[in-house]
């Protein structure tokens, strides 16, 4: 090996390391920029009214997004009720049972379902629920978000469960513990952090989904008095305000976006801390 070759390799080594560092900075940059602008533009419009009042007409001061904030929580709650049980238990089947052939098809189908654009979900649930119920409803909005979570949660759950060492299962079988108890009490519990992370990513994704809600939850300038009525949601409100021509509404959109982002970040960060104790230090 000649000396010049050695230098060339060393140079390439440093160059590529530097290049990956630049890429890492590029990845983080948009987050910082978005956050900076949200705070800069949105913070001024945040006040007590924003959280407690309903939206007002253009030019009227003092409106808020109380209904949209509540609506987002209601929609996410419904989505979790639909998506989490189906997704997690489906993931259990993929990881713990199932012939390899059926599993191949299930994974294949789940990956394709993950690629199904959110807007497509919107018009499908429109046909399935909004048309028969004669109008958009909170229920349809919750269901569409829940259905979208299923393949996401299923795949992440499966991936996480397969990281659980086979020895754990074998040890439980050797003690004569039924398989389903092994799965529920040992496998699922060991993988809890990963499952929670998967559910969290799925919730974070659907929390920002606007497209499927356009025709299902539809949005509402007031309160929804039942799940059969159209309901407001933060992303919907942000979108409607952002594409409007009014500066007032743009300010509201920034404020709404700041609240939505903080909401999502708080969920994210708190889940990370909750799950850190047991597995945080594992490398």
């Amino acid at each position: 090996m000649t000396a010049s070759n050695h230098h060339w390799r060393q140079f390439k080594n440093l160059f590529m390391q530097g290049l990956t560092l630049v890429c890492a900075v590029l990845v983080v940059l948009p987050l910082l920029l978005v956050f900076f602008h949200l705070v800069k533009e949105g913070f001024g419009a945040l006040n007590w009214n924003f959280f407690t009042k309903l939206p007002k007409a253009v030019g009227e001061p003092g409106g808020g997004m109380a209904n949209a904030i509540a609506g987002t929580f209601i929609l996410l709650g419904q989505a979790a009720l639909v998506g989490v049980p189906v997704g997690v238990l489906g993931g259990v089947y993929l990881s713990e049972y199932g012939s390899s052939k059926l599993n191949w098809w299930l994974r294949f189908a789940a990956d394709i379902l993950n690629g199904v654009p959110s807007i497509t979900w919107g018009i499908v649930v429109y046909a399935l629920m909004v048309v028969p119920m004669r109008g958009p409803s909170a229920l349809a909005g919750g269901v569409v978000l829940g259905l979208m979570m299923i393949p996401l949660v299923m795949r992440t759950t499966e991936e996480v469960l397969q990281l659980v060492p086979a020895g754990y299962r074998e040890a439980a079988f050797a003690l004569g513990i039924p398989q389903w108890k092994t799965i529920v009490q040992i496998v699922l519990r060991t993988a809890l952090k990963g499952i929670v992370t998967g559910v969290l990513l799925a919730l974070a994704r659907v929390a920002g989904e606007t497209a499927p809600l356009l025709f299902t939850a539809f949005g509402n300038l007031g309160w929804a008095h039942s799940l059969k009525e159209p309901i407001a949601a933060l992303p919907l409100q942000i979108f409607n305000y952002a594409i409007s021509p009014y500066d007032d509404w743009h300010r509201q959109a920034w404020a709404g976006a700041l609240v939505l982002l903080l909401l999502v970040l708080v969920i994210n960060v708190s889940v990370r801390f909750l799950t850190r104790d047991r597995f945080g230090k594992r490398q």
Partner: protein
């Protein structure tokens, strides 16, 4: 001992029943994936029957979109969806994989956790917020700074010619890239982390530099998984609606220049579905949804086939 034998070998006790019930429960829920896919296909097909009947295959190659005269064609939207996704992948894939490499192989230990956290938080930004930021911050910046620079350096390519008015295909591609980078990065990182340490040590033992270890031992070992990560990103890119709708300009046209507005399948449905009156108009939008589903499925299958080609045993002897 006797106890254990009793439970495993014989009496159909609660364990047996529990096993059977749990197995079937999880199986049914897993099979719901097939039900959902069938349902989506069926509903979209039902919705678009009328439009199919009216326009036939011509719908796919026609670039006319005229709600006033009830004439519809999907080509500009297919074009826009494919082009914006390609732009996004071209930007996102190298950056994401490089970042994943940096995170697992090169970054100092103290920096890794915070960086991972930042990327997870970036993944959590809702698309409508990126769209909002896109309209009011990114697009004006691109219009004033990046696009003029690209025009003067790369202007010999038809892709970067002509004036821009802000919202355009390239802006949409960039915003989608920002959206899919965290997903490709975090999935790639998980995969790189699963590469056994022995792989690396073996390469180090041969006298490889850090980068060579990464390239030879880590990246080629995890090729398959990284392709999987890219697929996830592509699936998301095709499905992106809101942020794209907000920055692409929403004009159904097919032009070479990326500085011109475009329109995607997803964004035309988002913009026009609620206002689509009559019978053919909504049906045409359903057919666009069906086309979108078709494009997504075809791309996903294509990607998975690619994946299979590269799969093999992950670690191959040199040949």
């Amino acid at each position: 001992m006797v106890n254990i034998e009793n439970q495993t070998a014989g009496t159909p006790g609660s364990g047996r029943f529990g096993d059977l019930a749990f197995r079937w429960l999880t199986r049914l829920l897993a099979l719901s994936i097939f039900v959902l896919i069938t349902l989506i296909g069926l509903e979209l097909y039902n919705g678009s029957k009328l439009s199919m009947h009216h326009f036939g295959w011509h719908f796919l190659v026609s670039s006319e979109w005229d709600p006033v005269n009830d004439v519809y064609g999907a080509l500009p939207f297919i074009f826009g969806t494919v082009v914006s996704s390609i732009i996004a992948l071209v930007i996102a894939v190298p950056i994401s994989v490089a970042t994943a490499v940096y995170l697992t192989e090169l970054a100092p230990q103290w920096l890794r956790q915070p960086l991972v956290m930042f990327i997870e938080l970036l993944a959590a930004i809702p698309s409508v917020i990126l769209g909002l930021w896109g309209i009011f911050v990114m697009v004006p910046w691109l219009h004033l700074h990046l696009f003029p620079a690209m025009r003067s350096t790369l202007g010999f390519l038809p892709l970067f010619q002509g004036a821009d008015y802000g919202p355009c295909m390239l802006a949409a591609g960039i915003i989608v890239a920002i959206m899919i980078i965290p997903i490709i990065t975090s999935v790639s990182r998980e995969i790189l982390r699963s590469v056994p340490g022995l792989q690396r040590e073996a390469a180090y033992a041969l006298g490889a530099t850090r980068w060579e270890v990464t390239r030879i031992a880590v990246l080629s070992y995890s090729k398959k998984g990284i392709f999987g990560a890219v697929i996830l990103g592509l699936g998301r890119a095709l499905g992106e609606t809101m942020a794209v709708t907000m920055v692409i300009g929403n004009a159904p046209q097919i032009v070479a220049s990326l500085f011109k507005p475009g329109y995607t399948l997803a964004s035309v449905i988002a913009n026009e579905f609620n206002e689509a009156t009559g019978r053919i108009y909504p049906s045409a939008l359903y057919e666009l949804g069906l086309v979108l589903l078709g494009v997504t499925v075809v791309v996903n299958i294509f990607a998975q086939l690619l994946l299979k080609t590269f799969a093999g045993p992950s670690v191959k002897p040199q040949h």
